[in-house]
Symmetry: C2
Subunit: 392 residues, 2 copies
């Protein structure tokens, strides 16, 4: 059966050349980088090379990169690590209402540790208002964490504007850039951030690896305590093959970023226009312009998103209905609630995330099958049959 995969925010296949680069580190070069003999020091050197490649992709210095086991771990290390290291200064942090679960639940953990958390609302496009951020900062605020782009609605936040406010007020700024690194240019100096999380998911790198950028000598409480790995900031033997995968994928991504963005933007525009043309009562979610180039998200009236996914699945089409991490946990997406989508409409969420491998033919295939699936589901829906003209 034909497979049209458009859920690249959830997972991507690792590129052949990246797998090739990783392979020798499973057996031939298997040494522990913390050992003092030649096998160990060679591997240590390889890790430092990868650190430099990842750093280069985001405009950082190599020594400002910590490898983690995922973007989620990087987010946990940033939020909890910074807040706990600075708790003598104050116990108040600010996050947006549309953060990823790894930031949101790290903040909830801090609440249990007697921190106060302010959840900044967003507008109908998912944008954080710099004025509201400014008003929310208190003398005891130590950290603000706002994601670079949201993986459910694709909206790109005005990070440099937000971070500059924090810089002026002496508050550390963290951006979860898991959805942007590999999709759009990300530069820590331009963004003016102190901490930035990334993962391999938009780089076609392997699972099991992420990284945290931290500016200069920012103090962080380790999340995984242990030995001297990552200069004492993250214990546990380094996942060498995965780190090699991330490094190589970062190098390739840096070269191909513009071409990839142009390619997926064109396909995305075709997809969005085609869906509006072929399906009635569809709301395009997120910002119309300030959004990830390969990201298309909708709420479809009188549709249950998961049912739609199953029907598309039968046609070989793979999409998502929100964040993969939350798929089975939540009935209504907090992100869609935050942008003011009615709960019943939020049920009809569908998200397409594209990458370089997608083609015009695949988009046309989706534009053929999606309207049929929607029509079929709506034919079963008592709501749809009752309300023939719902307005948004």
């Amino acid at each position: 059966m034909k497979r049209v995969y458009m859920d690249h925010a959830a997972a991507t296949p690792v590129r052949k050349e990246v797998i090739e680069a990783m392979l020798p580190y499973f057996d031939e070069h298997f040494g522990n980088p913390s050992t003092v003999y030649d096998m160990g020091s060679k591997i240590k050197h390889v890790i430092e090379e990868q650190r430099a490649k990842v750093a280069k992709l985001v405009g950082a210095k190599a020594e400002e990169i910590i490898f983690t086991s995922s973007g989620a771990e990087a987010n946990n290390l940033a939020v909890k690590g910074l807040a706990l290291a600075r708790q003598k200064k104050g116990k108040h942090i600010i996050i947006s209402a549309v953060e990823h679960h790894s930031v949101l639940n790290s903040a909830r953990f801090l609440e249990r540790m007697d921190f106060e958390v302010t959840f900044l609302p967003v507008d109908e496009y998912g944008l954080v208002d710099p004025k509201r951020l400014s008003q929310a900062i208190r003398p005891e605020t130590t950290l603000v964490s706002i994601m670079h782009a949201n993986n459910e609605i694709g909206t790109i936040e005005p990070i440099s504007e937000l971070s500059t406010i924090c810089r002026e007020r002496g508050v550390v700024f963290h951006a979860d850039a898991v959805a942007t690194v590999g999709n759009i240019p990300v530069d820590v100096s331009e963004l003016n951030v102190d901490l930035l999380s990334l993962s391999g998911v938009s780089l076609d790198a392997p699972k099991g690896v992420g990284a945290l950028y931290f500016r200069d000598n920012l103090r962080l409480m380790p999340l995984i305590h242990g030995g001297i790995q990552e200069r004492g900031r993250r214990g546990g033997t380094e996942n060498v093959p995965a780190i090699v995968g991330l490094g190589n994928a970062s190098e390739l991504a840096a070269k191909e970023l513009t071409d990839k963005a142009n390619h997926v933007r064109e396909l995305r525009n075709l997809l969005v226009a085609g869906i509006h043309e072929r399906i009635e009562q569809v709301k395009h979610t997120g910002h119309p312009v300030k959004r990830l180039p390969g990201h298309a998200s909708f709420c479809i009236e009188a549709i249950e998103g998961e049912a739609l996914l199953f029907m598309l699945n039968q046609e070989g089409i793979y999409a998502n209905t929100g964040s993969a991490c939350a798929s089975k946990a939540l009935k209504t997406s907090p992100v869609l609630v935050a942008i003011g989508i009615r709960p019943d409409l939020a049920q009809g969420s569908i998200v397409f995330t594209l990458n370089s491998s997608n083609t015009v033919a695949e988009v046309e295939y989706v534009l053929e099958k999606l309207p049929l699936a929607v029509e079929k589901l709506r034919s079963f829906s008592p709501i749809w049959r009752k309300e023939t003209a719902v307005t948004f």
Copy 2:
């Protein structure tokens, strides 16, 4: 050049058949297990199969296994996750003086969170005394964490005796079994433990994966907060290829454990006897009998362990001088201090850890080269020239 690798506690090459099993999960089966469509649910099923294999190796139920990114992460999750989840009951925990850095530094973190930590001393062999444990337990004690075997001195602790005391007193017991799983039989029921950490290092599994066994419905504060992965106990997309590696390696280890133990025990005995025969003023560290079968550890008088490693390295021999995680961090090993080794003698620590791939010829090669290296280093040593007959 000949390579004789005897540092298997630090790292092992991944077995060919395990790499083969992992490969399809980098590209062919790359889906995110949290997604609801067929690609995702198939991967989810694969993960559950691996969970069952790891569970079987340690006599647990599949649902009692949480996958982590390392043994260190499993130790952090056990110690911090249990202590923080139970802090309303009490803020006192007990660990031994010879724990791995990931347990030790997790306990130090809890001290900063206003917990009290008792460090149990060990005897000259590194053994924890059950009576002292019993005396150290207080009404507010929530957790005892004692390692199954120590990776620097090879000593195997009397876990079931220690854990039974805790069970009777209503205290949760955690064993760091990173050094034992894959080397000796480990059964969570026989050991009578509530929590047990393991990693792939003694299973010839890949880096970047570990697991925590937790009995039944024990409450744990997640270490990595995030989505619904690992039933809400560990956020972040699952490292599918590494989990497949750990599962397959666990299955192989279960079959081969007895043969492996017999093989490495025989080689280890040859090595220990040969070293005592050929080198004077050598102290065999750890327990003579209650120890890991493939583990030989010594302190050599008037020798600097790291210098010895470099000389052996030049002959193609790879050994360690303590725990790989601490190699560059510490001048004197806390483990050797805890068993009462004089600081200057502790400098001369050397550790050989064997696995199935080692041979009699390799042991003979080490027995040829090691005495020459020791002799050479001692010829430079003013201490050795002065004290011709130091007694232990």
